[in-house]
């Protein structure tokens, strides 16, 4: 195997990682603040892609503007879901979670009804552009995904670590009642978590959508990847989510070099199960206090 194909594999690994981490971070935020796995998160990603498609291709709007509209739409969708559907079940996270499963069907069928099941595609203004580094040609589309993803990951880190709302989120995830007693509003921070988490999923969907055809069911795979990542990383841990995402993304990018796609995804899950056998709380999960 030559250097060029290794570089290519690393690039693919980073692209998958970046996309998965953006999705999984939303799952992590919502899980740690609201105690639920938001099962319709893959559909928010899907809607992100479709909104870009709709504005850029159907309406012929500028791609960048369409992308911003998609991100805002995904974030606002998150706020609406939290305020009107999840908040009434605040005391019963199990019920809220079943509701999010229902939203998978609602969103998929809504998009199916509006956009039909025909695969859709859209292009970025930099489609086909390549960057030549050390003799290998790298797709600019992939490089953009990687850069945007990792800049956002760093931004989220700083937000949690240093901002007032970020520290409040951290506090809720460690001790809900203790946080409430400091005057931290769980309602308000749940809304922020859903906005940020869904916007990140929308960004992932909007960026990655140009690499393949869109289908209303496309959220399923990323949800499975996302859930695998947060379990692997240690539920509720943001650094764990990033590391878990890198592991899953690189397994996705590297294993297919040695074997077929099907065996590759099998091996990926086997490796995850092995890691969890030795670290049942995940890579960065807290031991009991």
């Amino acid at each position: 195997m030559g250097d060029a194909s290794i570089l290519q594999a690393v690039l693919n690994g980073l692209t998958s990682s970046g996309q998965y981490i953006l999705v999984a971070l939303g799952l992590t935020l919502v899980l740690s603040i609201m105690n639920i796995v938001q099962l319709a998160h893959g559909e928010v990603y899907m809607i992100g892609s479709y909104v870009v498609y709709y504005f850029s291709t159907s309406l012929g709007l500028n791609f960048y503007l369409s992308f911003i509209i998609a991100v805002v739409a995904a974030g606002v969708l998150g706020i609406i879901l939290e305020r009107y559907f999840l908040r009434p079940f605040r005391a019963r996270p199990d019920k809220a979670m079943v509701l999010t499963a229902g939203f998978i069907l609602v969103f998929q069928n809504l998009v199916l009804a509006i956009a039909t099941g025909t695969p859709k595609t859209y292009k970025t203004p930099y489609e086909g552009a390549v960057l030549t580094i050390g003799g290998s040609a790298l797709s600019v589309e992939r490089v953009v995904i990687i850069i945007v993803a990792f800049v956002l990951i760093a931004a989220l880190f700083l937000f949690i670590r240093f901002s007032r709302n970020g520290q409040a989120m951290e506090a809720i995830s460690q001790e809900r009642e203790g946080a409430a007693l400091q005057g931290i509003s769980v309602d308000r921070l749940s809304a922020i978590a859903m906005f940020v988490g869904c916007a990140l999923a929308g960004i992932a969907g909007g960026l990655v959508g140009s690499l393949f055809s869109l289908l209303p069911t496309m959220g399923g795979t990323v949800l499975i990847k996302g859930i695998t990542i947060i379990i692997l990383g240690g539920l509720g841990s943001i650094p764990g989510t990033v590391i878990g995402g890198l592991v899953i993304g690189f397994l996705d990018g590297l294993i297919p070099l040695f074997t077929t796609q099907y065996v590759a995804s099998l091996i990926g899950f086997i490796i995850v199960i092995l890691i969890l056998l030795f670290r049942p709380r995940g890579l960065m999960g807290h031991e009991s206090p």
Binding site: E177, A180, L181
Partner: protein, 234 residues
């Protein structure tokens, strides 16, 4: 009156936890609620905090109704709490825990002054500033829980069984700490199971049994009345 509960009842589902609780506290005082396991002491504090909603009755703080308000509004009004089992943020540093106590405050200057005040009260916390709260000893965790509550600059500090799990000598220090905080102008509502700590700091005392107040008055009178002491104070 700083705090006044009138005929407060709380249910968990269909089970009545406390019934017709009436309690008054004047500004600057230390009031205590004594009761056995499961009597409803924590429930009373949670109803004041807004962590459980009350079924009937009213709660007034500084003359204004606070029942039905969110916990954030109640903290903002000036009520802080050292909860049962402390409920610190275990993976955060002492410093972050204290800073979160001042979550609702904007006055940087005042926050800094109160931080210094907490360090004067508990010099140990200053030494442990960068340590994770979960790694502190029981006594240090209790200091941090009290310090965190003080960081909101409360007018009323509620404490839920602060002596639980502490060594007798630490409980002595705790009594001094409570008196010191009170001298600083903060009213204290102290919930306890044993009368020992209470008799050292409080004046007015309410005795609660299975969700009802069965006795109220001066703790020293209660302690000196043998039959009362045997019946209610263990």
């Amino acid at each position: 009156m700083l705090l006044e509960l009138r005929d407060v009842s709380v249910y968990y589902g269909t089970a009545m936890a406390v019934t017709d609780i009436s309690l008054k506290q004047e500004e600057g005082s230390i009031v205590s609620v004594i009761g056995a396991n499961g009597a409803g002491k924590s429930t009373i504090l949670k109803s004041i905090n807004g962590l459980v909603s009350i079924h009937s009755g009213t709660i007034e703080f500084d003359g204004k109704r606070i029942d039905g308000s969110g916990t954030d509004a109640i903290v903002k009004a000036g009520i802080a709490c050292v909860p049962e089992s402390r409920k610190l943020f275990p993976y955060m540093t002492v410093q972050s825990n204290l800073r979160l106590g001042a979550y609702l405050r904007k006055d940087k200057q005042g926050i800094q002054e109160d931080l210094e005040r907490v360090f004067t009260l508990f010099p140990r916390l200053k030494e442990r500033l960068k340590q994770k709260a979960g790694s502190l000893s029981g006594g240090e965790q209790q200091m941090l829980a009290i310090g965190r509550a003080l960081m909101s600059k409360p007018r009323l500090l509620m404490m839920d069984e602060p002596s639980l799990g502490l060594a007798p000598i630490v409980i002595d220090t705790l009594a001094d700490t409570i008196l010191e905080i009170n001298r600083g102008g903060v009213s204290v509502l102290l919930v306890e199971q044993n009368a020992g700590l209470v008799s050292r700091v409080a004046q007015d005392c309410y005795v609660i049994e299975v969700g009802r107040i069965v006795l109220e008055g001066d703790i020293k009178d209660m302690m000196s009345n043998d039959s009362v002491r045997r019946a209610f104070l263990g």
